[in-house]
Structure formats: structure tokens, C-alpha cells
Symmetry: none
Subunit: 197 residues, 4 copies
């Protein structure tokens, strides 16, 4: 995969995160990436192909930084959970609480009228939920049995975070997310306790 292609993807990732997919015009990309109109189509067949490549690119970063480095680390599961929360907040602070979560954004923008995008985003959330469920299972310890229930709980925690980011974006105030995260922490504590008894 050529450097230029990768460069276009990176540039577009930032633009699409901030403006959304449809609202990121090819001309924005060309200008930001400093390439000619025709040249873009040398690297990508269509804007959609770029969009999906951007999704892949951002997810590969997530996978590395969150799913692997944090959630799959050989550490105490509570530490891993806390690191995840810190990481999520950090990501949002980087763009001054304005952009929200790329995957959440694309879920909202594209799910209904582009099945390819929908599927990709769905899979991102599923993978995240899976890894998170495993961390919860570690917390519970050997007693952990009902995978289905843990997965459902993890899914709700992911939803809380995405909802927190959404509200945060609406208010442009990181406090909202931090606040929601507090509840997430409490919820996890309660969830684990119920198994420990």
C-alpha cells in the first residue's frame, strides 16, 4: 500500500471525523492532501472506497491502542478498565470535545442508507464489546459462567460511553462524559459484586 494512499487516508480520517462522511467533500480532501483531482482516483475507485478505508484505518488504531494494548494487556482487569476509560476521555479531549466518536458518528450518519458502512461500524462495536466482556469476566474470576449476560452488560457499558460522548458533543463539554464515566464505574462495581456473592 503506497505512502500516498496512506497519506490521503490519514488526511481524510481527520476531515471525516470532524465533518462527517457526506459533508467531507472531495475538494476538501484534494486541497488538504495537495493532490490533483485525477490522481485521487488513481488511488481510490470512489469516495465510498476511501470512506471504508478510513474506517479501517481508524479501527486499526483503535485495535492497537485500545483492544490490544489496553484491554488485552497482562494486568489487573480493574486497571485495564480504568485505563480504557482514561483513554476514551483522552481521545475526546484531543478534539476539544467537539467531534465525538468517529464510529458513533458514522453509525448515526450512515447506518440507515449504506449497509456496507453499517456492517463495518457494527463490527467495531462488537469487537470492542467482546474484549470488554472478557475484562469483566476476568474481574469476576472463575465464577464467571454466563457469557451471554456479561456480553450484554459490556454492550451497555459501550452504549453508555457512546451516549456520553454524544451528549458531550452536544454540549461541547467534557464534563458530561466524565460524569457518565462515573456511573459506568459504579455500574461495573455493582455488576461484579452480584457475582461475587
Amino acid at each position: 500500500m503506497s505512502d500516498k494512499r496512506q497519506h490521503i487516508i490519514k488526511i481524510s480520517a481527520a476531515l471525516m471525523h470532524s465533518k462527517g462522511y457526506e459533508n467531507t467533500k472531495l475538494s476538501d480532501i484534494l486541497q488538504a492532501a495537495e493532490i490533483g483531482k485525477g490522481n485521487f482516483y488513481h488511488y481510490f475507485e470512489s469516495k465510498q472506497e476511501l470512506g471504508l478505508a478510513v474506517l479501517d484505518y481508524i479501527f486499526s488504531y483503535w485495535k492497537y491502542a485500545l483492544l490490544e494494548n489496553i484491554l488485552s494487556a497482562d494486568k489487573d482487569p480493574e486497571v485495564k478498565f480504568n485505563e480504557m476509560l482514561a483513554w476514551v476521555v483522552n481521545q475526546q479531549k484531543r478534539n476539544q470535545s467537539k467531534c465525538g466518536c468517529v464510529f458513533g458518528n458514522l453509525a448515526v450518519e450512515m447506518s440507515e442508507h449504506d449497509e456496507t458502512f453499517r456492517r463495518k461500524v457494527e463490527s467495531v462495536f462488537d469487537q470492542w464489546t467482546d474484549k470488554l466482556a472478557r475484562v469483566f469476566a476476568e474481574m469476576i474470576g472463575p465464577a464467571a459462567g454466563n457469557d451471554q449476560q456479561i456480553f450484554k452488560f459490556a454492550q451497555s457499558i459501550v452504549a453508555m460511553l457512546e451516549g456520553g460522548i454524544l451528549l458531550m458533543k452536544s454540549k461541547q463539554d467534557i464534563a458530561v462524559l466524565e460524569n457518565v464515566i462515573e456511573l459506568a464505574r459504579t455500574s461495573v462495581r455493582h455488576f461484579i459484586q452480584q457475582y461475587k456473592q
Copy 2:
């Protein structure tokens, strides 16, 4: 306010809920509302004005159905909370879990590049949170003192619901939302208990 104007708003509300603001083209609206191109601009100065009017219109329905009829009713607060959850699920079932929440959608689509939209959506969430906080205060009873803390909790519950709707939209499966709602219920129980002790 003329009937025709109201008619255009209603038609547009459905379209914008499903397709988003930018993706709802004027031509879609004109066709659905069966009015001429020029005539639209007799009722609205611009598409943006229509968009804001749509927001107002949908919120007025929310206000009536949720904030007033449900959350401000003279009933047991637990009943009111449950009715709200049922109402939220019902709204989503209507559009087969495909459209999501109008306000959540617009928060994501518009917050960053249209301040007027952002403010309006922010206010919707704030009013919802306020009313919900009061319901929680009722649950707690006379002991309820720290308004700030209750407001924050209510905000997190709103975030959970919005996040649940977002994930539900991504998976096109109402079960996700119902699942998240289960956690919301538990969270509220714990939150109240902590005051009762």
C-alpha cells in the same frame, strides 16, 4: 402560523428523522409536501430555518408526550420512570430500530458546524434531564438535597438511553436498547438506595 407551513414542517420532520438534515434535499420535501419550488420560500427563508422549525416541532411533541404527560404526571415516580422507558422503546419500534433518535442524530450531524442547531439540541437534552432529575428527586423523597448530583445522574441516564439508541441503530436490533434499559433500571435502583440508607 399557516396550516401549509405546519404541513411542510410535519412532512420534513419525518424525512429529516430518517435521512438526516443535509441528506434531506429540498426536492424531497417539495415532492412529499406537494408544493412548488418558489412557494417553499414564501414560508421559509431557507432550508436552515425549516430545519430549526422541525426541531421545534418535534420537541413540542416530546414536551407534550414525554416531559409533561409522562414525567410531570401526578403519579408514583417509579411508574413515571417506567413509562418513560416504555415510551422510548416504543418510539424506536415505530421505525423498526432504523432511524434512531432525532435529537441524537442532529447532535451528531450538526453540533460541530452549526451553532444554532447545537444550542437547540442541547436545550432539548437539558430539559429532558431536568424533568428526569425531578422524578429521581421524588423517588428519593424529602431527603433529596444535592440537586447537582441528581442532575448529573439524570444526565447519565439520558446518555445511556441515547447510547443505547445509537448502538441499536448500528445493529438494527431493538434488543440492544432493551438491554441497555435493563441496566438503566438497575442503576436507578442503586442510586436511590444509596440515598435511602
Copy 3:
């Protein structure tokens, strides 16, 4: 049907006759018709719709001038046949033997990759053949029985004319067409005689 739409069709008819369908660019049309880019799409959904409208327009002229006024007139069939030949030559002389026959041109350009065009052109040739076959039947008189055979003969005469026009266009010399027409005349004479015996 508005005047402007008709105007665009007329202008395009001339352009497409001379340059072919694909080679007539929208910008050529806009310039010749003196309308704006957007306005074109007020009258036509696409370039293809215009192309088909142009075909209809030219055929309506053919129908009137050739199929009805000449071939269906209440005259001696030989006179009608001769008038047709004269009309065909005249049409070509108008564009200095350079453009050829619109229908022949489109048959060649479009038949293989646009079924809608192909069908329309096919129908033009069929209608022409039909009318011509009737003229031949009149020449034969009451003895005329085998419609199938007369139709086939008429089809061959149409082919001769189209082939004559094609060669004429290639040589840019009307003499080729006139030459072919001489053979057409002879062929008809022989064909009729064979029935008269």
C-alpha cells in the same frame, strides 16, 4: 410540453445527427440552446432522456413527411415510391452528404450497448418497412398474397438505402446514394414483374 423543452430537442437533434449521441456533449447543447447547466435538468432527467426525445422528435417528422404524406398518400404506388426516393436523396443533400441517416447512425452507435435506443430505432425501421411493403402490395395489385415475402423485400430495399447513405457518408458524395437508388428502382421493377407473370 413547453416551448423551451421543444427548443432544446430541436437544437440537440441537429447536433446529435451530426456528431452522434455520445459525442454531443451537454456543454454543446447548453451553448447552442443558450441555457444554463441547471436549467437543462429542469426539462430532462438525464442526457439519455433527451436522446430518446430527440429520436421521437425526428421520427415524428419522418412519420409525417415520409410515412404519411408520401407513402400513405392516395396516389399511384409507383409515384409514391419515386417520391420516397427523391425525399431520401433530398434529406441527404441538405447536410451536404455528411451526416448520414440519424436512425442508421444511432443503430450503429447505440444498438449494442443501449437496449432502449436499439428498440426505438428498430421500431422506426419496422414502421418504414411496413409502409413500404404496402406500397409494393399496391403495385402488385389483387394478386398480392404473400405478405411475408413482400415485407422481406421491402426490408431489403430499406437496407439498400441505408447502405447507400452509409457509403455516401464515407465518400461524402451524393452520387453513391443516387447510384444505389438506381439499383433499388430496377430491383422493384423486377420484383413486381415476377408477380405479374
Copy 4:
């Protein structure tokens, strides 16, 4: 002349026969010929040069197969004429009556706006007509005198065939061509008879 150049020409010949000149994109050629973009311009100065080379290439095959092997053979002229007709039908059957005659197609597409193409195609038809005229002269025998008249007749027969192919392409039905060929045969019989008397 390098092998690669020849290879490109052959590949392009098939494409241009089926899609026409303008509609055969360089990218189609590069893909089919499996060569790089820049390399094409090592072998050809432009698309036009390729187009003309394709014309030459196809004509060289015609010359060999039709003009020499068939029409110039040392056989009875009637046999040669019949072999020509069979050959023509065969050529069309190969592409399921869909493509038509390359030279006819290019005559229609290019004559008006590319003089170089026009001349080349014109010369093809002229050479074909010449050879055919000689076959007719052989049929007539020593009495054959008026070369001009025989040439004109041969030209009309060529026109008939081209017209038959055109109509066949429009209807996508080989029967049309076979039908026209029947008339061609009859015409030749009559033409010769008139000299024999």
C-alpha cells in the same frame, strides 16, 4: 514492428469493433492488453494513431481473406461471389449479429469529424468494390466493356451488404442480412443477364 505493438493492435481491434472508437477507452485497452499506462505511449503516439493502426490491421485481414483468397482466386466468378456472401454472413455470425461491420461502424462514427479515418475507410470500400467489379466483369465475359457501369453496380452491392448488416445490427437478427443477400443474388443475376442479351 514489435510483437507487443501488434498485440495491442489485435486486442484493440476486438474492443473497437464492439464498442466503437470513442467508446473504447484507453483504460479498457491497457487492462485487456496487460500493459502499463506509460508504456502504451511508447508504442503509439496517441489513441488516434492506434485507431488508424487498428483499421490497417483489420483491413489487412480482409484483404487477405476476402479480396485475395476469395475474390481474386482462380475460380468461377459465380463461385467467388457466393463465397464472398457466405464469408460476410459468417463474419457476422461470429459476433452474434451484434457488432456489425467494423468499416461500416467507423464510417458512421468517424467520417464527419475525422478526415484521416474517413479516407482510410473510404479506401477500404473502394478496394472491395474494385475487386467485386472485376468478378462481375468475369461473369459478363469478353462483352464487358463499360467499366464505370460495372463499378457502380458493384458499389451498390457493397452498399446493400453494408445496409443489411446495419439493419441486422439494429434488430440483432442475422435473418435480415440473409434476406438482403437473397436480393443481392437476384440483382446480380439480372445485371449479368442484361449484358448477355
